[in-house]
Homo-oligomer: 758 residues x 2
């Protein structure tokens, strides 16, 4: 009965905005355009709340299970507390910087507050997602005792809570800010930069969460595996392994809290970037159209929330369903939501903008299709149901070196189709939406379309770590092989659906970054137009090939984007591309070596415990779990700072020294190389993981064979690839763009001063 | 006495051009500007000939040594024959394509012939280098019986022959072509595209040689190590290993023939690209200055040859010198040559161009300094005398996975300084040489400066494989531990000097590619100006944001580079950067997986021989060396085609479908990501190799320890990194630029047709 009432609620919520839209119809938009985001955000948050209550009512199982789960929860919370202290300091420092800048008129006076709230909401998304995940792990394990499907229901509900919280909070804060901005009567021209700063706050917290969480989880994982599995020969998740709790904590702080903050940032980032472009793209057509263009992304997002809620109800199966049936059921949920949003957004755009603007719907559709294509190929390259990963597993026969070479090679070649898909999607969205600035707006819309069903795609992604944790608890609490097999099955299922989620995340990051790049281009011009910088003669001479100052001044035209050509044949631009291309590599190196160092400390600690307390391996003595958690925490906290700061200072240094135009080229270079590297790392890592699992399922000699050992080496190398560096790159490329947009006034002013010296 | 007479000859040769230049002095250039290249080429070739004769007079040692050396020579020649058949077919096909294109007026009528000769000379460089290397290996081993220094002398002479042949042939064919072009009275405007096609021929053969040779050598190396060293537990270069001859053949076909063709291409490519830019950069200042600008690169190259010859005489040491003394002696040779070229080119440019153009000398100096900085940091990151590689070796303590992660991380972070150095060098050369087209010419001059001392830097690089081979022969012929230790020392010395050489090769490739990119930009305009394409209205509309057609037509100005702005904010340009960024990854994947597959066949063959002939391991039965050589040969031949063809068809497809401007962006993207990836792969590979050697020297448990085993895995992964994919990327980025330049007429014509359809 309860489920039915929820269903009815969902359907009701679903129709409210549509009915309203039809009622207002015929192309005229309401004055307060953002009321619809309240619908989306409240629907998502209420639904998340109901699900959370349902989960908390489930049984946690035996006392032993409760105890283990409590350990994990404590460790995770202790970590998050530490992390938020550092993040808090970081936010405070930048808050002060923004206060100073706003004093000099280089940023809007609301920017410092927008930055803070963005950071706060991103952190909150991660926190809530993790809170529910740490409360669902034991419950999932206990439910899996009944059946695979029961386990799935709990884990999937937990994932759904996270998905809904992310989109709900995303829309909520947009709504709140819009209310404030309206109340303060801020003109629509000024809203985008404030919104982007909001995004910058969210992105910087997300980057910390991803990098820090990624380091924690992989240090614990690598440390636990290397000493436990390889050296001591005890199974995974064995309670005798001192790092086992840290490993399970890691799943929560990295794969849940990190992912939550990350996808909050992606979601809000894509909406904000598109709104910002909408605000400039249609100025020539009057304020009405501008308001509508700003409204479209949030409206699509809201409808997407409702479609996602509906989709989650389709994820159900008979009690004794097989893995295949469950996978189909998950897919039906996602595809139905996708189909619905495609159809409904047609109606929506038709009534909001009229038939002349249906190209914008085309752009959205392009985003949805591209996301699915990339998602499919992510799965193709990383799932053991397809040739590439099977062939990769075969390379284990000639040892660890060949499986590493083959995995890197697989990752590299797997970048081709996603890049070409994004390339085609970019052109298609650009031309469909009407070229020039409207075309760039179309690229943003494609990203919004891709992420519109995040509520459900994230649910299918986020339940994986819960299942993984459940498996650990089942193992440690001795629930028996059958339960463990079921949680392993859930975990494997999660890997498959997570691949699609990753494809969406990477592709949407690329499109969002493209939109942000365009927005940055606008911002350079806007700042120059404002006259705040008082450009020197030498500045104008230096950049006369890029900005057509003479025509602009002679003809007395407004300085628009047609006067600026970021000419690739200008060495100052070309070297920007070079600098940009190298940054993702440096960033990746920093985060990977951080994992290496933190894992090294963990290995030493586990070895120390085994050596000093002989009873641990015999099962007579209890290992010191807390010291392992604290080592991972300390390692992650120390190591996450440098890579995160790099993302913020690199654009500022380049902007001040080489000027605002080189920064644009740098962003393009970083986007291109970062995008490729992110796909490569995600896919190499995923394929190694699944090649190992493929062998563990019995292929090529199975567990314990020398082939398995080689595959474990591949999996270990892949860990930081897919869970630390790879996903962080998505944030990096967007954060650098946002930093550039926010600091453009600073670049131009200081660079102008420097140039003036010569 | 003999050495003294060579010295006198060298010094004499050295002064001829200078005396002439002073005599002609005061800024007036001679009409036949290219006579000086004959001096350079003949000096280099004569010197190479004399050294070759000296080497061939040395004793080859015992009959056993002669036999082994003969095996290696046969295998290498058999491989080269096979390779040249395929290369021949490839050259023939493109020859016909060019004939057809020239019939349609899309390329000059001499282009097909220029292409063929470029390919021929590149192949010849590899062939001669390999011929002398396969004749020097046993002689080096035998000389090493006397002393380390004697061994070095033979090996270094062999390397010098190769260095001199590469630069001598490079200048020779430039001289011959110039003679022909003058005789046919081809106008100077038409010479650059013909020359570039010459470069394209050289580059494509070089790419085949690098990829094919790289696959051969690493398949053999990996195969020999995995089964021999790891599985059967026999030492390296043990004659019982069936793959041992193939391994030694590999050193010659990959590291010698491949490198020869590669550096021939780099050398000629940098000179040609700079000449081409010189021909357009100074047109406004009259034909005299144009001729001089064209002359400068070859003149610097010629003086560089003479400085290099002089430098080689300084490489000598007492008979019982230590490794440290030998290294210092090698360095003195290189640094003296560098210092001399820096001083002499000052004089040269002063007298040729006058004091107003000394910025061009500055640009050359920038190239020399940048090359040395990058060379130093290559050594810093890959030599076991420095922290990074020592720390990498320590990662072996936690197993193969952590040393792989750390090595990848090391390679990634090591890209930063080289990229920033190239960035600074690019800006400095650009502004020193006078900005705009003259500035781009300056970037080319920096590359020419960097490679001006190739005669000696290549010698210090190319003797390494000879020493490596000598070590193998010493081992197989049982010359004893002392001799083997000496050849190992020579090999290690070679690794150190080779690092510097690699730094120069990568950095010069980046600068040359930048110059070629600029040249491609010119070519687009030139072709449009020629009116051959009859641009459609839709073409002009589509690209009105990039080419200022209206101003050009309205004002009746010549279409110059100021009318073209390859605007990064145009999505058609931005996606070009994306496509470009992904190509090096795809290329690398193809070449790495080719190594994996070929190595797999080798592993199976060696295992088969061990299994079928039990006597092999006991030393009573002789393994079938030839079958291993033939497996590597077949693997390399089959696998080298796809990656090489990719370099040629990618620009053509992008050019026809997305147009000539997107190609420019694609080249920039490929250059940026390829440059970074090339450095990463070279340095990761080098560091793993030396970390392994560091452990073998006794650190961290030494040979046979579990740390050593982990380091061997790293080294094996690094093999295709540093010897197949990495160096091939340098060629790839230049070849794609050359292909674009040569085929620009085709792009514009076909793309114009396609656009016209809409």
């Amino acid at each position: 009965m309860k489920r039915k009432s929820i269903l009815i609620l969902g359907i009701l919520l679903f129709f409210i905005p549509l009915v309203n839209m039809f009622a207002e119809g015929t192309g005229e938009a309401p004055a307060d355009i953002m009321w619809i985001t309240w619908v989306g955000s409240l629907a998502a948050l209420i639904f998340a709340g109901i699900l959370a209550i349902t989960i908390l009512r489930k049984d946690q199982g035996t006392d032993k299970m409760k105890e283990i789960s409590a350990y994990i929860k404590q460790g995770a919370m202790a970590y998050l507390k530490q992390q938020y202290v550092i993040v808090g300091i970081f936010l405070a420092v930048l808050f002060v910087v923004f206060l100073i800048l706003s004093n000099f008129g280089l940023v809007h006076y609301l920017v410092p507050y927008a930055f803070l709230t963005g950071g706060f909401f991103s952190a909150l998304s991660g926190f809530i997602g993790m809170s529910i995940a740490t409360r669902s792990n034991a419950r999932t394990a206990w439910a899996a005792k009944t059946s695979l499907n029961s386990g799935l229901r709990v884990a999937f509900s937990s994932g759904t809570v996270m998905g809904m919280v992310v989109v709900g909070l995303g829309l909520l804060d947009l709504s709140i800010w819009w209310l404030i901005l309206n109340a303060l009567k801020i003109h629509i021209d000024q809203i985008p930069p404030i919104m982007i700063t909001f995004g910058m706050g969210a992105s910087s917290v997300a980057l910390f969460a991803r990098v820090g969480g990624g380091i924690f989880t992989k240090a614990a994982d690598v440390g636990a595996d290397l000493v436990g599995k390889v050296e001591a020969g005890i199974p995974e998740d064995d309670p005798r392994n001192p790092a086992v709790i840290a490993d399970n904590v890691g799943d929560n702080v990295g794969d849940v809290a990190g992912m939550g903050a990350d996808l909050y940032e992606s979601y809000v980032g894509s909406i904000i970037a598109t709104m910002a472009l909408g605000a400039v793209a249609f100025t020539a057509f009057g304020e009405q159209l501008v308001l509508k263009a700003v409204q479209i992304p949030v409206t699509i997002a809201t409808v997407g929330v409702l479609c996602s809620i509906l989709g989650t109800f389709l994820v159900r199966a008979k009690e004794q369903a097989t893995q295949k049936v469950l996978l189909r059921s998950l897919r039906i949920g996602v595809y139905t939501a996708t189909f619905l949003i495609a159809v409904l957004s047609f109606v929506l755009i038709y009534f909001l903008l009229g038939q002349d603007y249906m190209g914008i719907w085309g752009a959205m559709l392009v985003g949805l299709v591209a996301g699915n294509i990339i998602g499919f190929f992510t799965e193709y390259y990383t799932s053991d149901h397809y040739k590439p990963t099977q062939k990769l597993a075969e390379q284990s026969q000639t040892g660890p070196a060949t499986i590493i070479i083959a995995g890197l090679s697989l990752g590299m070649v797997s970048t081709f189709i996603p890049v070409i898909t994004v390339v085609i999607a970019t052109i298609a969205a650009y031309f469909l939406a009407g070229q020039h600035l409207a075309g760039l707006y179309g690229i943003g819309i494609a990203a919004v379309g891709m992420l519109s069903t995040l509520g459900i795609t994230l649910a299918t992604d986020a339940y994986g770590p819960v299942a993984d944790n459940a498996g650990g608890i089942a193992e440690m609490a001795g629930l028996g092989k059958e339960v463990r097999d079921r949680t392993d099955n859930l975990d494997a299922l999660g890997n498959t659906t997570a691949a699609t989620g990753k494809g969406f995340a990477i592709a949407s990051a690329a499109l969002t970054a493209l939109a942000l790049l365009a927005e940055y281009g606008n911002k350079i011009l806007e700042f120059m137009k404002s006259g705040a910088a008082q450009l020197s003669k030498s500045f104008e001479t230096m950049y006369s090939g890029i900005i057509d100052f003479s025509h602009w001044r002679a003809e007395g035209l407004p300085l628009d984007i047609g006067f600026m050509k970021i000419d690739l044949l200008n060495p100052l631009i070309l070297i920007g591309v070079f600098i940009g291309a190298v940054l993702p590599f440096v960033f990746t190196s920093l985060s990977m070596s951080a994992v290496g160092r933190a894992a090294g400390s963990m290995v030493k600690e586990v070895r120390r415990q085994f050596a000093e307390k002989k009873g641990i391996l015999e099962g007579t003595e209890k290992p010191d779990y807390a010291s392992c958690v604290s080592i991972s925490t300390k390692g992650a906290q120390k190591e996450m700072i440098l890579p995160s700061v790099l993302a913020i200072i690199a654009p500022i240094i380049v902007g001040v020294v080489l000027g605002p135009f080189s920064v644009l080229a740098m962003l393009a270079g970083a986007l291109a190389s970062g995008f490729v590297l992110a796909i490569m790392m995600a896919n190499s890592g995923g394929a190694w993981d699944n090649a190992k699992k493929y062998i563990e399922k019995g292929a090529l000699g199975g567990k314990g064979s020398s082939n398995h050992k080689a595959a474990v080496v591949g999996d270990t190398v892949g860990d930081p690839f897919k869970d630390t560096s790879g996903p962080s790159l998505n944030i990096l490329i967007k954060l650098m763009s946002m930093v550039s947009i926010v600091f453009v006034g600073l670049f131009v002013t200081l660079h102008n001063l420097i140039i003036g010296l010569f």
